[in-house]
């Protein structure tokens, strides 16, 4: 390939740098602000003149944010395990459509569900009539299985050579055994991708908690974040007596940082697997 014109190269570099700055600077601003001490002046609105960890101390000192983090972590872990397990079982069962009468109908039921949604209110009424309102189960059960994830997993399972599975069956393994000892070990990459998909969506989930939880002490961190940072209502003074002493903006940003941290921690894995998974899906088609 001929060398591109230096002017073109320069222009590209400017655009790339601009993009990176636009993406990174806002996040950096948030992190820097969270370390500002109460009496600090923010130079250019960004760089604190004096630094402190007091925002983090007050937020993690056992108040509502600490509790919300616990709720979010628990819901994410339990939800991810449950969702991945149920999705994998469903996906494997539905690879048997040719052998088990009726399963083709179940497959269609799942696929067709991607085309419509009954809507917010009918869904709310079902959750309510199941007695799940104000329970943590309401944060998991209504979004337990994603049809999209099931389809991705199923098409991965279908790629496993039939001879491998038949060999296990001839050795007397039943389908549960085949699934557990043959299919799952061969499917680690897709299991990782799907588990990450579920994990991120449980961590980020906001709306279900908003409509199904009435008790603020049960709130996950996204809801606390909304109430405290976006709607500007103070965290309960009784729960966090230090808050008055800290620059409120620093405290707000500390909550943002804490709520983002888990995503940042798993991001390297996420990026590798997700893009691979997306490519996988794309190439498959």
């Amino acid at each position: 390939m001929e060398r591109p014109h230096p002017l073109v190269t320069g222009l590209k570099a400017v655009v790339i740098v601009a993009i990176v700055v636009i993406m990174v600077c806002p996040l950096l601003t948030v992190v820097l602000t969270s370390f500002a001490s109460p009496e600090a002046v923010l130079w250019f609105g960004v760089w604190p003149s004096s630094w402190t960890l007091s925002a983090y101390k007050s937020v993690l000192g056992g108040g509502i944010v600490t509790r919300a983090m616990t709720v979010s972590v628990a819901v994410t872990v339990i939800g991810t395990v449950a969702s991945t397990a149920v999705t994998a079982m469903l996906a494997y069962g539905l690879t048997r459509t040719r052998h088990a009468p009726g399963l083709r109908g179940v497959l269609w039921l799942v696929l067709v569900s991607m085309l419509f949604s009954a809507g917010i209110i009918p869904n709310f009424l079902v959750v309510k009539s199941l007695g799940l309102v104000d329970s943590y189960a309401a944060l998991i059960l209504p979004t337990l299985v994603s049809a999209f994830n099931m389809v991705v997993m199923r098409s991965f399972f279908m790629e496993i050579p039939a001879e491998v599975l038949d060999a296990a069956r001839i050795d007397g393994a039943n389908e549960v055994r085949v699934f557990w000892s043959v299919v799952l070990p061969l499917s680690r990459p897709v299991m990782a991708v799907i588990a990450l998909f579920y994990g991120v969506s449980y961590w980020n989930a906001f709306f279900n908690a908003l409509i199904y939880l009435n008790t603020p002490t049960k709130w996950p961190v996204q809801l606390v974040l909304n109430q405290f940072v976006l709607q500007g209502s103070p965290l309960d003074q009784m729960e966090n007596p230090d808050i008055g002493a800290t620059a409120p903006q620093a405290v707000q940003m500390a909550v943002v940082v804490i709520a983002t941290l888990p995503i940042l921690l798993i991001y390297p894995f996420v990026q590798r697997h997700f893009t691979k998974g997306m490519m996988l899906g794309a190439v498959k088609g």
Partner: protein, 329 residues
Amino acid sequence: MTQLTTSGGSGTTSSPASAEEVTAAPRSATPSLGTRIWRERYAYLMVVPGLVYFLLFHYLPLAGIVIAFQDYSPFLGFAGSRWVGFDNFLAFASDVDFAATIANTLVISGLQLLLAFPLPIALAVLLNSLLSERVKRLVQSVVYLPHFLSWVIVISVWQQVLGGAGAVSQALQAAGMDPLTVMSDPSTFKFLVTAQVIWKDTGWGTIIFFAAISGISSELYESAACDGASAWRQIWHVTLPALVPVISLLAILRLGDVLTVGFEQLLLQQPSVGAEAAQVLDTFTYFRGVRGNDWGIGAAAGLLKGIVGTALVLGANRIARRFELGGIL
């Protein structure tokens, strides 16, 4: 990518199974239905939890649609509430918020199709033209990141940078100027929403185009270069034509989704700009139905959206099929 999975789904079902059929079909004595079911009992067992989930949380709610035709009261339930025919739909159509709700939904959707949709294509082509693999990887990991942040976090970050008390405003005030008002200005709100979508999802949107670009044979570029085509002309005559099928498919699917605009994103920002600028069909359903206890009207608005939306998705798929671009079912 949507097309892929499902067409992959239906495509793959037939292929491995056909091999199975060849061995099974010639046998004259087919086992009885009962035997076949018993033999696959574990497959049925594994399907049960997932099936129950879909029935409970996707199909059972369909029954709740009836309240769109009722003067629903939670105390009386479905059975006790009065039937009112299409009154809820008429009430929705003559509601003071009706015109703004429909207009906001369509304008925001249109802006996103016009401004946010083309950017991933441009970014993918740009990144693909970079010679250094390391720079490309680095930029990719930066631009994908916001896709994984929740809307609450994204809006908090924007608030901190562009809000009235945010970084830019503080800097402006230090220089003796007025603080910014973009985060709470109803007149520019639709552009703000579009800009947020661009910031959050442009990077992620490039992935599907990367997949398409990586499928282009390098011979095409080599022969174009031999014919003296510049880098620009190679993009114009080789890369973009190869992307046309993906672009058309995504555009059609997006059109099928025209009534769905970032629900959480709008819900979260409605308090700061007001309903006049930020009410869309989904938020109307939420505020009227769930919050305002106007169950009937909320359900009617939701049902209207559901029917038109499903029809559009099906129509979009049909068009995609007609042009042989694939489809989701």
